[in-house]
Amino acid sequence: MASLFQRRRNKATQTERIRERRHEGFLRHADFRWAKISGGLCLLVIISYALVDVTPRHNGGSWYGYTLGTIGAGLILWLTALGYRKRKMTSTAWSLKAWTSAHVYLGLSLIVIGTWHTGFQLGWNVHTLAWALMMLVILSGLYGVIAYATLPKALSNNRDEMTQMQMLEAIRAFDRQLHAAAQPLTPEDTAPVLAALEEDPFAGSIGARLSGRYPKCATAAALRTLSASRSSDAEAREKVVGLLSQKEAALTRLRRHLRIRGLLEIWLYVHVPLTFALIAALSAHIISVFFYW
């Protein structure tokens, strides 16, 4: 274990900077340092739980339970501090990657610390509520880890070197061309094109954004109508159909982009509020425990 804590002092003076030569993700950070620490911690808890004899039985109120409870509560507060830490720029040597790595692995270790703290006594009360909220926070975090590990590649592939602004700009460019190209069309052909022009690329419910399905997409509808229509001049219509399908492709790319970004972020809207609920329940749990005394 000693080697794990032997931190390479990042003496990042201006003449000698420690630099990484390769990309190393937060899960692998420093050769899985925090996975090892967290795993060791869990092992320690499980073994000591079996070895320590608490009468009448293991529960949160024993000295052993209090110890685990204090460690757990401390960890929860520290883990919450990531939200502040990641936004706070300081000038000293620290890395958000190392924090994320520790956050993930120590957060997972709470499953053991928290559950073993209960002594497996669960019920319908505020204490179990705190435990259940903690498990939900961890579960949502677990989703986050999986999303972070798998989705960036898809985001990168879909983006194909375009920025979000460029995707929007591309759609606007098609809109301008459509506007000009649709002038010779008959009124019944123009209407769906106008509807497509008025469509806001960002519109759509959360469901649509996360699933990537937009059944009421005006561009797709206009494309269907005009492909089937026989009313306007064929050449002009063909040009509009061509532009519509190009716009649809651009829209699909943007929507896929927004979908993946949404999937990368949506869990935070569960993870963070649940954390605050957890802290509230935890406070209630700790205060009520003092009444038992």
Partner: protein, 812 residues
């Protein structure tokens, strides 16, 4: 013909105005000739409200006109007042077309046909030149303009832009902005747009496609009438509506005009200046050149020179230049006591590179230089220290530590430190003073200017630097004498990016040394070029064939625009023969390279996909211009979640502005090169910075110090688009306050809307250049890397990133 005057001053910019004011104050008969109807046309044409800076701060202003930094309007107003109060005699609309005669009776002919007779002429015409005019009938109508100050001045107008160089396209794009509702047409005489930058052409084409501009090629104006313009098109004449014509037809550089008076320049290249005496007199007696045309683009210099030149021609011999006290301060720390001019003469006669430098240039160079006294044994600089300045030995000698305990002396009059100057790389060896010595340290910019304007200095520096570079590479007790046969035949070759220097399989035994830039080595394995190695400046190649006599075993091509020194194989062999240790060391290096080559070849057979990926990644990185990078941000898109924390950290670590654009830039195999500074080996941004505030810091970072004048040269010179011109936003409320109360814009760069709303009353911020400084002065290192939650962002140098160890890890 009017009364003869003592002095005619041509050009009413800061230099000319200051000269005329001095002449008026001294009671000299004078005339200030200005081609337009207002003073100082160059500054007059600045964009409305532009903040004009007053650098260099340490230089005192010596002029009868006032000047301090401020808005364009304020400065022009003050100058108009000063011109009136000094009672300057100004002739407006007096464009000089010809100067004849000689000192005492010059005849100056203006475009209107007036002749002015003057004893002396002061040329202060700047470097902008005269815009070419339209030539068709109606070309004198007032709605033809030659610049666009502010595109927003034009709303709902029919505008025709004539000329499709960069200036024309940029103006057309400006006025074609959708919100202005102008109808814009751009005319091009030929079929293609060869003179403009590709980026401008593609922007214009896009504007053409989406209908915000109409682009007409092979079309020229034929007749201008109020409200209408007749065009000559390939299909006949056509009349279009036209309220404003913007003519951007290039300009006539002033050099031809200056030369027509018989004034000589220092050389044929574009950077050359007129040859001048210490009193600004040209090679034509009686004609003086000051200001930007003399090589001083800063306003304060110009104004001081205006004052000085009139004092000089009025017979004031005792006047010491305004920089005298600055120069005295530079020499103050030296043990001997001499006057400034004695010191300058001392340096000029002692130091080889200063031999051909004029006294005026000498003053200029010393202002950008330092001079110091060193006791025997004092360290001047350490090995591997970054630094790009050049040292010259005025007195004593320097000792180079080529190996531990082995030193080589450099004699008085010579130079050292030139490798950093030419290749931009770190110092190659430790230098000590070999005796009590005086060394002059010339900054990189001053040294480059010296090389540009004094050919003799350039030759000396090039020869010495080549010798030194070879001594450093081939070590082992070589002497300058051993090198003579190699250096005499050496040839410096410029290689554009991507050009092959050596082709695998070709015969030949020339050896090449990379002087600047970098090379990549590739080998054809299984019909595909495989990347073997990246060679930074200061490396050499081609030596294998000399030793083995076999054909070239790999292809070497330039990663970026580079300069190589070609040494003949025969000379190289002679050098090796003279020094067996050198031969031994070279053979050892060759063996190492050969071993690495065979390692990659052997891997190729068993792990071809890893080798292919390594090779393709290297090719991609070189294509993105990282061949000239020393430290670049690379993002692994397998890890990047798009949180933009890197950008936010960048903004929050500096004055609220981000220096990188994560999303923009190219990607290969999920390796993304974002738009961010690479700290190039030869920074393009440094090339033309009037106040000289871009420097390379101790950690290799290219940074800007205070004093940017906001001219935008660096932004335009950067090929990677990583410099922004932006004003710092006001300070944000603290992070805790934002987290708890939601007050303020939160982490990262605030939105323009918030900035506008929260800017303190009456404060108009200056737009200055903003670029990455690699978080200089922040002990933890670059914030972008530290703030990445997933480890997607790292900063690397190409040789670290493309090391062979990477391939070994990948191949297992």
């Amino acid at each position: 013909m009017s009364e003869p005057v003592k002095v005619a001053i041509i050009g009413s910019g800061p230099a000319g105005l200051s000269a005329a004011s001095r002449a008026a104050q001294l009671g000299l008969s004078h005339v200030l000739l200005e081609k337009t109807d207002h003073l100082s046309d160059t500054i007059y044409k600045y964009q409305k409200g532009k903040h004009v800076m007053a650098t260099p701060n340490r230089l005192d202003l010596r002029s009868d006109c006032r000047f301090d930094e401020g808005a364009r309007e304020t400065i022009l107003g003050i100058w108009d007042e000063d011109a009136a109060s000094n009672k300057i005699s100004v002739a407006y609309h007096a464009e000089v077309v010809e100067v004849t005669g000689e000192k005492g009776a010059f005849q100056i002919k203006t475009a209107k046909g007036d002749i002015i007779v003057a004893e002396h002429i002061v040329l202060a015409i700047g470097t902008q030149g005269n815009p070419n005019r339209m030539r068709c009938p109606g070309n004198d109508l007032p709605h033809i303009i030659y610049t666009v100050d502010d595109p927003e001045d034009f709303k709902d107008k029919h505008i025709t832009v004539v000329g499709s160089g960069d200036a024309g396209i940029e103006n057309a794009l400006g006025v074609a902005e959708e919100a202005l509702e102008n109808t814009v047409t751009i005319l091009n005489r030929s079929k293609d747009f060869a003179r403009a930058k590709p980026k401008n052409v593609s922007d214009m084409m896009e504007a053409g496609e989406n209908g915000s501009m109409s682009i007409r090629t092979e079309t020229q104006p034929k007749l201008v009438e109020p409200g209408w313009l007749t065009l000559e098109t390939p299909t006949g004449d056509e009349k279009i509506e036209c309220d404003v014509i913007v003519a951007r037809l290039g300009s006539v550089a002033p050099r031809a005009f200056v030369e027509s008076m018989g004034i000589e320049f220092t050389g044929p290249d574009r950077e050359a200046f007129p040859k001048l005496s210490p009193t600004f007199e040209t090679t034509v007696p009686g004609i003086y050149v000051i200001g930007a045309l003399a090589g001083y683009p800063l306003i304060k210099h110009c104004m001081n020179q205006g004052y000085d030149v009139v004092e000089f021609l009025n017979g004031n011999q005792a006047l010491t230049p305004a920089d005298e006290k600055d120069l005295a301060a530079i020499f103050a720390g030296l043990p001997q006591q001499k006057s400034v001019s004695e010191w300058l003469e001392f340096l000029r006669t002692r130091i080889r590179i200063f031999a051909d430098v004029s006294p005026l240039q000498m003053r200029e160079f010393m202002l950008d230089s330092k001079i110091a006294f060193y006791r025997t044994g004092d360290v001047v600089f350490e090995k591997d220290e970054p630094g790009s300045s050049l040292f010259a030995i005025a007195d004593g000698q320097a000792l180079v530590e080529v190996a531990p305990g082995v030193t080589v002396p450099i004699e008085e009059g010579s130079i050292f430190g030139e490798v950093g100057l030419i290749s931009g790389r770190k110092r190659g060896a430790r230098i000590r003073a070999g005796a009590d010595s005086i060394f002059v340290e010339v900054s990189r910019t001053a040294a480059l200017k010296l090389m540009g304007s004094v050919p003799g200095a350039k030759r000396v520096i090039n020869r010495i630097s080549l010798e030194r570079q070879l001594l450093q590479i081939f070590k082992g007790g070589l002497t300058v004498e051993d090198l003579a046969p190699v250096v005499d035949d050496a040839e410096v070759i410029r290689v554009p990016a991507g050009k092959v220097v050596l082709q695998e399989g070709d015969a030949g035994d020339d050896v090449y040394v990379i002087r600047s830039g970098s090379m990549v080595v590739e080998k054809d394995i299984g019909g595909k070029p495989i990347f073997l190695r990246y060679l930074p400046a200061g490396s050499y190649f081609g030596e294998m064939a000399v030793l083995s006599g076999a054909p070239r075993n790999a292809t070497v091509k330039a990663a970026v625009g580079s300069e190589v020194i070609k040494l003949t194989g025969a000379g190289f062999k002679a050098m090796l023969a003279a020094r067996p240790q050198v031969r031994e060391a070279t053979e050892k290096a060759v063996a190492e390279r050969a071993q690495m080559n065979s390692f990659i070849e052997s891997r190729k057979a068993s792990y071809s996909s890893a080798v292919d990926l390594y090779s393709d990644t290297a090719t991609f990185i070189m294509k993105e211009g990282l061949g000239e990078a020393t430290d670049a941000l690379l993002i692994d898109e397998n890890l990047c979640v798009g949180c933009d924390n890197c950008e936010k950290a960048c903004a929050d670590s500096h004055e609220g502005l981000s220096r990188l654009d994560r999303e923009a830039g190219k990607t290969f195999a999920h390796l993304h090169v974002p738009t961010s500074c690479r700290h190039c080996e030869h920074p393009h941004c440094m090339a033309d910075c009037p106040p000289n505030v871009i420097h390379r810091g101790p950690d290799g970072e290219v940074f800007m110090e205070e004093g940017c004048i906001g001219c935008g040269n660096c932004m335009r010179n950067c090929p990677y688009g990583v410099i922004r011109m932006e004003a710092a936003p006001p300070e944000k409320p603290s992070l805790l306050r934002w987290l708890l109360t939601g007050f303020g814009p939160g982490p990262g760069e605030p939105s323009p809307k918030w900035t506008k709303a929260n800017m303190p009353e009456g404060k108009k911020p200056k737009k200055i250049a903003v670029k990455c400084d690699m978080c200089k002065g922040i002990s933890g290192g670059p914030a972008c890397v530290r703030a990445c939650p997933t480890g997607a962002a790292i900063r690397v140098s190409p040789e670290e990133f493309l090391s062979i160890a990477r391939l070994e890890e990948d191949a297992g």
